[in-house]
């Protein structure tokens, strides 16, 4: 399955079917991050059930230093 993750086209293994498993795949489960799927924010309690499908545009953002 191919998704666009942070602007980059990526092939994901079959076991990635939800946002939760996507985070596990990239070892991001414990990170302070915010996720947007197809322009809509995915709230944390929904990570486990929110599906990831081919063609989805997913953004994973976090806080960095800034003024």
């Amino acid at each position: 399955m191919t998704v666009v993750l942070n602007g980059q086209s990526l092939d994901l293994p079959d076991y990635v079917r939800t946002i939760g498993s996507l985070l596990t795949h990239f070892h991001l489960e414990k990170k302070m991050i915010v996720i947007e799927k197809n322009g809509r924010i995915v709230e944390k309690p929904r990570y486990a059930e929110e599906s990831v499908k081919g063609g989805d545009r997913i953004e994973i953002v976090h806080f960095v230093g800034g003024g």
């Binding site: 993750l5 942070n6 602007g7 990239f26 070892h27 991001l28 990170k31 302070m32 991050i33 915010v34 947007e36 924010i41 709230e43 944390k44 953004e59 994973i60 953002v61 976090h62 806080f63 960095v64 230093g65 800034g66 003024g67």
Partner: protein
């Protein structure tokens, strides 16, 4: 005391977290500044390097209030999206609305800023817009309900200090929400001047993070903010065109001729 929306702070210092040489220096500078509000930017994560050190993850979040910015936005729509992403972190409901209208000077776009502020206020954000030192714009923003006005003293990162103290004083004397000078501060003298003109807070980043000794500069800025604020509250003497002696003019013991 600085009151922004429903929150109160002892410190009038808001410190940016960009461009520090190391996380260790940054931590010490934050400590030395006494700042209770720290600004951040929202950016894409490098998902292939999730273990890159991140300052936020090393902070005691009970001690600090986070003020994410919408830096990088050029339209209200972009700023609103960034603000929503920041709020979805569950870490904060304050937002510094920063919408740049000119790439060269990084001066803010007043029209897009006003538009974004209206939407974000409706969504319950505590909104602090970065703006030029324009009095009428500040009044318009105050009328829609922003929680502070954050005029630039001079262009972002320029360190040119308070280019227009007259305009800044008019702002602090006119608007009823806190005026927080944001951008352009170069030295503790700039900071003290801004505070003594009635600013209720200073938001700066480069002046500390790019200083030769950021930790020492953080402390210098803290002291300058306190000095400036005290000076403002104490009330400076009016300027006079001529000298006025401080010592009695009568009762001089004269030499007998």
């Amino acid at each position: 005391m600085l009151k922004i929306g429903n929150k109160t702070f002892q410190s009038h210092f808001l410190l940016g977290t960009g461009k520090f040489k190391t996380l260790d220096i940054q931590k010490k500078a934050v400590e030395a500044s006494g700042a209770e509000i720290l600004t951040f930017a929202v950016r894409r994560m490098n998902i292939f390097k999730p273990d890159q050190p991140n300052f936020l993850e090393q902070l005691d979040l009970k001690k600090y209030t986070l003020l994410p910015n919408t830096a990088g936005s050029k339209t209200a729509e972009e700023a609103i999206r960034t603000a929503r992403l920041a709020k979805a972190s569950g870490l904060c409901d304050m937002i510094k609305v920063e919408i740049v209208g000119d790439d060269q000077t990084l001066l803010p776009d007043p029209f897009e800023t006003l538009k974004a502020c209206k939407v974000l206020l409706n969504e319950g954000f505590t909104v602090l817009p970065y703006v030029s030192d324009d009095l009428v714009l500040a009044q318009r923003l105050e009328r829609v309900g922003v929680h502070a006005i954050m005029p630039g003293a001079s262009p972002i990162g320029s360190g040119q200090g308070i280019l227009n103290p007259v305009q800044l004083q008019m702002l602090t004397e006119t608007v009823h929400v806190p005026v927080i000078v944001d951008a352009g501060i170069g030295s503790p003298a700039d900071t003290a001047l801004a505070m003594s003109l009635g600013a209720q807070g200073i938001l700066l980043n480069s002046a500390v993070s790019r200083a030769k000794d950021p930790v020492k500069m953080a402390r210098a800025m803290k002291l300058a903010i306190e000095a400036g604020r005290l000076g403002f509250e104490a009330g400076r003497i009016p300027r006079k065109a001529v000298a006025v002696p401080s010592s009695p003019t009568e009762g001089m013991s004269a030499i007998d001729q």
